[in-house]
Point group: D2
Chain length 364, copies 4
Amino acid sequence: MGNTFGHLFRITTFGESHGGGVGVIVDGCPPRLEISAEEIQFELDRRRPGQSKITTPRKEADQCEILSGVFEGKTLGTPIAILVRNKDARSQDYDEMAQKYRPSHADATYDAKYGIRNWQGGGRSSARETIGRVAAGAIAKKILKQVAGVEIIGYVKRIKDLEGMVDPETVTLEQVESNIVRCPDSDCADRMIELIEQIGRSGDSVGGVVECVARNVPKGLGIPVFDKLEADLAKGVMSLPASKGFEIGSGFAGTVLTGSEHNDEFYTDEHGNIRTVTNRSGGIQGGISNGESIIIRAAFKPTATIRKEQRTVNKAGEETVLAAKGRHDPCVLPRAVPMVEAMMALVLCDHLLRQHGQCSILPQ
Amino acid sequence: MGNTFGHLFRITTFGESHGGGVGVIVDGCPPRLEISAEEIQFELDRRRPGQSKITTPRKEADQCEILSGVFEGKTLGTPIAILVRNKDARSQDYDEMAQKYRPSHADATYDAKYGIRNWQGGGRSSARETIGRVAAGAIAKKILKQVAGVEIIGYVKRIKDLEGMVDPETVTLEQVESNIVRCPDSDCADRMIELIEQIGRSGDSVGGVVECVARNVPKGLGIPVFDKLEADLAKGVMSLPASKGFEIGSGFAGTVLTGSEHNDEFYTDEHGNIRTVTNRSGGIQGGISNGESIIIRAAFKPTATIRKEQRTVNKAGEETVLAAKGRHDPCVLPRAVPMVEAMMALVLCDHLLRQHGQCSILPQ
Amino acid sequence: MGNTFGHLFRITTFGESHGGGVGVIVDGCPPRLEISAEEIQFELDRRRPGQSKITTPRKEADQCEILSGVFEGKTLGTPIAILVRNKDARSQDYDEMAQKYRPSHADATYDAKYGIRNWQGGGRSSARETIGRVAAGAIAKKILKQVAGVEIIGYVKRIKDLEGMVDPETVTLEQVESNIVRCPDSDCADRMIELIEQIGRSGDSVGGVVECVARNVPKGLGIPVFDKLEADLAKGVMSLPASKGFEIGSGFAGTVLTGSEHNDEFYTDEHGNIRTVTNRSGGIQGGISNGESIIIRAAFKPTATIRKEQRTVNKAGEETVLAAKGRHDPCVLPRAVPMVEAMMALVLCDHLLRQHGQCSILPQ
Amino acid sequence: MGNTFGHLFRITTFGESHGGGVGVIVDGCPPRLEISAEEIQFELDRRRPGQSKITTPRKEADQCEILSGVFEGKTLGTPIAILVRNKDARSQDYDEMAQKYRPSHADATYDAKYGIRNWQGGGRSSARETIGRVAAGAIAKKILKQVAGVEIIGYVKRIKDLEGMVDPETVTLEQVESNIVRCPDSDCADRMIELIEQIGRSGDSVGGVVECVARNVPKGLGIPVFDKLEADLAKGVMSLPASKGFEIGSGFAGTVLTGSEHNDEFYTDEHGNIRTVTNRSGGIQGGISNGESIIIRAAFKPTATIRKEQRTVNKAGEETVLAAKGRHDPCVLPRAVPMVEAMMALVLCDHLLRQHGQCSILPQ
């Protein structure tokens, strides 16, 4: 367990940074969905390293192979296994890290937990692990789109203290992909790119906030009490590497309002649908989607592996210093965007199936 | 599903606000733990309404009965069922709400999801549901204390914009319980109480932030990748009623630092233990506890049910207004403290057993 | 875990023979199902002790109370908790058994596993535990009936070497309930009753075989590969107390046929439905229901607790003898019938929802 | 779901007969176990087709590759992914079966469930799927051996009506592997081989019974009530292709004994261990292992795919005849032996970890 996510639409990921490869099994996918390796590759390409001057220069094509579960272009309903081979291994970059623990990385805790660790490239704690999630997320997105017209769009909202202005109700994928930092506010994007380049040159790193919206989500998704939609979204996002915080709707800022300021009043729109005037709830009330846009934010800390020298200890507990070698992202945010979208898609797709299975079988 | 939480130490809660009662089944509890109804009642009393002038005046004794799983004062290893009967029902307060949806409450979404709703007292969306969690959390706390000396202490960190100064490394339960708002900064507590009373009188409500620390947590808890410790904590906390955000360690504030500012450097202490100089990680690195204190924060929105008049619609979609009757907390924070502690305890206890089951069976 | 069964339609049982009570939580029940305590009680009455001269004379009314999840006669979609209080405790009958292990009973293994045991009435290993299953099974039966017209009928097929002639395609509940041994072959039933009475007088016990048929099961239920329908049925049945074997369709007898003798040839019936000429498959092929009747058999050993003196040991390992006191069934088969039906219903209902959730969401 | 088995030691299999390959992810494996691809290959070679004159002549090397989870010869505690590429595809053998449903096979039910089917080689319903189980079972066996000295040995007990005499307490792997039918009674084995060859020549098939013993199983494994050890064993075995029945200990034969004849009386052996004089319980009482040998039996029907002509229908429901082409086992039993062993190992290993996680964390 621990490497499985979801109930009806359920994924299990595997793989370390170095070794045979990384991938995912998607179990419970509805049959008869048209899906191709190209559609999955589209999302993997948004995630892969080396895609721009502000990401790690590691060149990994991350080419995916569908091993099972798809036949003549359609899903079979049986497990879909997707494999991405590992390549471009420069494990000598990690020789020093085999002994010295990187501050705020997973090296020391993996050793403490397992008593053994694949120190090459971070092993299982590498962001390469998210390949499986993003591949599965591509399938989930397609189901959501096809069944309910759901659109999921993530973007960089903030890098360090540079915050973009973005309207989640209207932002498009094209706007997000129009620049390499994936911030749809193009003026702010320019400044973000400049900051990342500068911080990267200095051997340091920065973090920020990704915002993600899901539009056209049907009412009724999410299961009280533990599998509330925001609870599963929080788990999904907080299981991503480097995440430190999660918000839905008004989030922490909402706590300084009074109830009368914060509540989303109801009205009935021209189609007779019950809607809310505002959306501080972020599309979820009582753990269940209300038909408004679902809006979440994830905080990502600055990359832990930096070239600047830091105090640390080695496996024997002896104090030493470490200036990390290797090719690391000075900022994970641009590549985190497809990861957050994937987790949003996986949670919504699972709940779409669960809602259908439980609540639509008896006549209304 | 949906009402079950945890894997090895697993709880399932049941019950609506009105009806036969609410409760919990704890499955997978280690056998031979000494536990009494009194120990569970202690935590329930911290959660129950009517405990002070700043909580709802509903008088509910919330007396628990252990139905099974305990014999001669010790756990059997079989399911522990705990029942709290519902009392003091004034469902007439809810007559109007049977028809009119409370803004930002679960009324409308329950109807959308299930096509039916127990409108009395909020039904399953009532905070009464958390009785089961708090009862189970009392057992989890005792296991953690006994096996590893873990201490879990939650407190109100902020009400609206009033923020207390609290040191999570030294704060005590006595300090928390020394005032009715459960903020260990007593000066700030006085102002918080005053604010809540004032806002309550005005028919409005306020929110805030609960912080919770777990000290003496063993290294090695948490399972990459989806069941990272912070991911399960986030899910646990975000499944609580009214929660809108979650942070671990530096949280959102950490995103404005650079990597070299944010990283927790290692050193070896006088006992030969590998420790970190700072704790921006919040006790978790790579999803696994590192032996430092685990520090989380949860944002709770202002109570949705308020006496002030608001625009809303009824079940038929007709626009109307609602000024809620009934006896509602103007601020859920003081009672949310034991709930956050319970979720922390449930997550840690489950992972303690999972770590023991997987990683201690072969010789080191 | 361990006390939970099913995925979408999921039950968790609790309770020991003596103590506060026994019961069940049903999670994932479709909302808006009409259900009453009386309908559940009907099945519990078929299970309860003291119902006839060939069952234990313990008088337990086993009156059920629905604690939650039902409102104005309909399910809410939230957890349904059902409680049956324990009564008529004569724990002094068990004083000797607190020390001496009953041969082929669970006394010794519970001690070995848990290091503690509720020795009163067998504790959690008592057949009283099945009350929760039977109560939940009543709900599952109603859903199956309502959604798909499924009929589930169990009966005693054999007691010791007395085997009844029963046609699973036509047998009715009325025939089953027409005699106290629940064998629809009335001549054979008379001999069975005589045998059980005689064996009971001698202080000994007998076992036998329960057969159970589910008619009108929709095609497509069951999920390859581990959750094949027969695999889940086998688990359900083999989790019942005293069960020693499970068969589907031709079972062990089918292994002496050749493939050409055993295969069920296909034809198309007058309604254009693809059917099989014979039904040695027992209604399941490749783990998936094929629309024919599902026919299973369960072997139940003779009751372990007997009044005849047997060699045993006590907790200290000292050899001794035991002639059990207390009021025990000389034959569990008549009361096992509703238990097997319940497990059949729970498995089918869970798979009905799972099939609906996964396979009906995209257009055919 | 549906393709995952186990809780703490959990496997997920994937793959169809034709396509990229088949395999398994093992999640929850204890870290620091020495394991090699050769050890896994040993078991796969016992399962693979073409291994002898009485199995299908398809030549599939079934060479496994460990993709992840093992580093420098030891398990990491992270998911172990194992892949076996598909080869030797002669899908033209299946052209006719793309249209015509094989009687008693999964063709028709897969179509009914999913509305789509990979008809090449049976797709997911092919016995190739068991490669993943057998590979994972090899790891489980090693853990059981290393932690507790558990030995798991399966063998062919019966082919059609030819039954071997085997003592489960003393049988060795060498005896089982000494002949190609895997029946340790060598005289009977000769007759079995002759029968299989003869039936194969006639274009027909036969079934039989596999028996499997686990010796040195620690007391205390198995969790009442639903995850009783025999219930999980039954599910595991009944999820294997072609299985029709399951027995533990005395099984169906035990139902003709009286309680006094059937009960296993206790004694204390020379080491002070509580033992049973007989073992009709099959090593499990009350769902929990009692330290005696666990003995199970599985009924396998005759292979459904035969060369003899049979009545059937095509996808359009038109009646026709089919004489299957392709290279099929006239008897699956010899190759089913490692499959049954694998399921026994998977269940015991999972329960070993679960027992350790729940019951050994508090002092006795």
